[in-house]
């Protein structure tokens, strides 16, 4: 007897003395639980159904059963090819087209996604078994600086459980962090599922991120613009002092090297790009007004010349 050929009586769960009626009843009972067309989502159904069909085919025929009992043939004697199952067609169209259109390797990926969503509720096993716990998803809203600089956060779950989340430096908005083993507990000694935490970075009032670079608009006074100055500017890792050259106009961009976001892959920091914006004094400045009235510019260009051509 081939090793993978199980005893057909054992497969059907019946005694060797079983009557014809017993055999039919046993097959009927098992077929209901594993016919692939009646269990379209169960990948193991086909294997199980083939096994019980082969056993049934062998035992329902009096002559082959007699020969098997007498040891003249082995269990593989009753194996016969079965046609394709209806489910292969009923779902084939949907699977086929999606695999082609959406680049899925197989329907397994889709079934896996469903299983994750519903935790296999459609095919709840009848007997308790060892299974990995369900994965869980959370959303963590954090400040812009907490995302780019990284840091530790604690999420309190509805049940009171605390979840420690370590945000790596250089993380991104909408980044998914996986916390291994922090999902639902497993069943029957199975491992716990994972927790997936999605980061939502609150936008910052001043800093804007573009890849690893940080963009910020910095207002300067008229005097600083004309005469140049050493000024303090904010960066994501604290204020730094920088030089504004004399004659810096609104829109001029200055670069602070390696004051941007640290790239988690290369370890290199991006830059901070500062766009200057000249602002006038907010109060009354009669001296300034008087000066400007008397002022004769060296280069009396009309800044709107190009627009009015």
């Amino acid at each position: 007897m081939k090793e993978d050929m199980k005893d057909p009586y054992e497969t059907l769960g019946i005694a060797r003395s079983a009557s014809e009626k017993d055999i039919k009843e046993a097959f009927k009972r098992l077929a209901r639980t594993c016919h692939p067309d009646l269990h379209p989502g169960d990948k193991t159904a086909e294997e199980k159904f083939k096994a019980i069909s082969t056993a049934n085919d062998l035992l329902k025929d009096k002559e082959t059963r007699r020969r098997f009992d007498a040891g003249e043939i082995d269990a593989s004697g009753a194996e016969r090819p079965r046609g394709q199952f209806y489910r292969d067609f009923a779902e084939g169209a949907a699977y086929g087209s999606h695999a082609a259109q959406d680049g899925f390797a197989s329907n397994e990926e889709l079934e896996e996604f469903l299983a994750r969503a519903f935790a296999g509720g459609a095919q709840r096993p009848r007997r308790p078994h060892r299974a990995r716990g369900q994965d869980v998803n959370y959303v963590l809203r954090v400040g812009f600086l907490d995302v780019v600089n990284g840091g530790e956060h604690t999420i309190t779950l509805p049940g009171g459980k605390m979840l420690q989340v370590k945000i790596p430096e250089g993380a991104e908005d909408r980044q998914m962090l996986r916390l291994e083993g922090q999902g639902m507990p497993g069943f029957g000694g199975g491992p716990a599922g994972d927790a997936y935490v999605e980061l939502y970075a609150e936008p910052d009032s001043y800093f804007r991120r573009k890849d690893d670079n940080i963009h910020v608009e910095v207002p300067i006074t008229l005097r600083e613009a004309v005469l140049g100055a050493r000024i303090e500017v904010p960066t994501i890792s604290g204020a730094v002092t920088m030089t504004i050259p004399a004659g810096s106009n609104t829109g001029k961009t200055l670069r602070l090297r390696e004051k941007g976001v640290r790239n988690p892959k290369t370890g290199q920091r991006g830059h901070q790009l500062i766009t200057l914006k000249v602002v006038l004094p907010t109060g009354d400045e009669p001296e300034l007004a008087a000066f400007l009235k008397a002022w004769q510019p060296n280069s009396p260009d009309d800044p709107r010349k190009e627009m009015l051509k």
């Binding site: 097959f27 009927k28 077929a31 209901r32 016919h35 067309d37 009646l38 379209p40 989502g41 079965r82 046609g83 394709q84 199952f85 209806y86 489910r87 292969d88 067609f89 009923a90 779902e91 169209a93 949907a94 699977y95 999606h98 259109q101 959406d102 680049g103 899925f104 329907n107 990926e109 889709l110 996604f113 469903l114 994750r116 969503a117 519903f118 935790a119 509720g121 869980v136 998803n137 959370y138 959303v139 909408r174 998914m176 997936y196 999605e198």
Partner: protein
């Protein structure tokens, strides 16, 4: 494509009269050409399924149409569910996570 007599030949339990009866009940819809019936691979699989239901699981002839109608609805629903799943799986990870989270919230409030 299989002719009706080839199909009857290939399935032990199937009788010619079954085919006529199941066509009358609209359980199977083979193609008819020049007075001859032709069964696609899918239609053949459906006939095999009906034979299993009728002759191996002993489902009464009158109950067959109910069972098949429910099965057809199950497959249609699964097809739609898989299409929807494929559409979700084609979205960004963040969208997928939001959908999963919403489903889980729904499942949790059901319990």
């Amino acid at each position: 494509m299989m002719r009706a007599d080839e199909l009857v030949e290939s399935i032990e339990a199937l009788r010619r009269g079954d085919i006529e009866a199941w066509i009358d009940e609209n359980l199977i819809v083979p193609r008819e050409e020049g007075g001859e019936l032709f069964f696609s691979a899918m239609e053949c699989a459906r006939v095999r399924l009906i034979c299993t239901l009728r002759y191996e699981l002993d489902i009464e002839a009158e109950t067959l149409s109910v069972v098949l109608s429910l099965l057809d609805q199950l497959y249609q629903t699964r097809q739609r569910l898989l299409s929807l799943t494929a559409a979700v799986a084609a979205q960004d990870k963040s969208v997928q996570a939001s959908v999963l989270a919403a489903i889980m919230r729904g499942a949790a409030s059901d319990e």
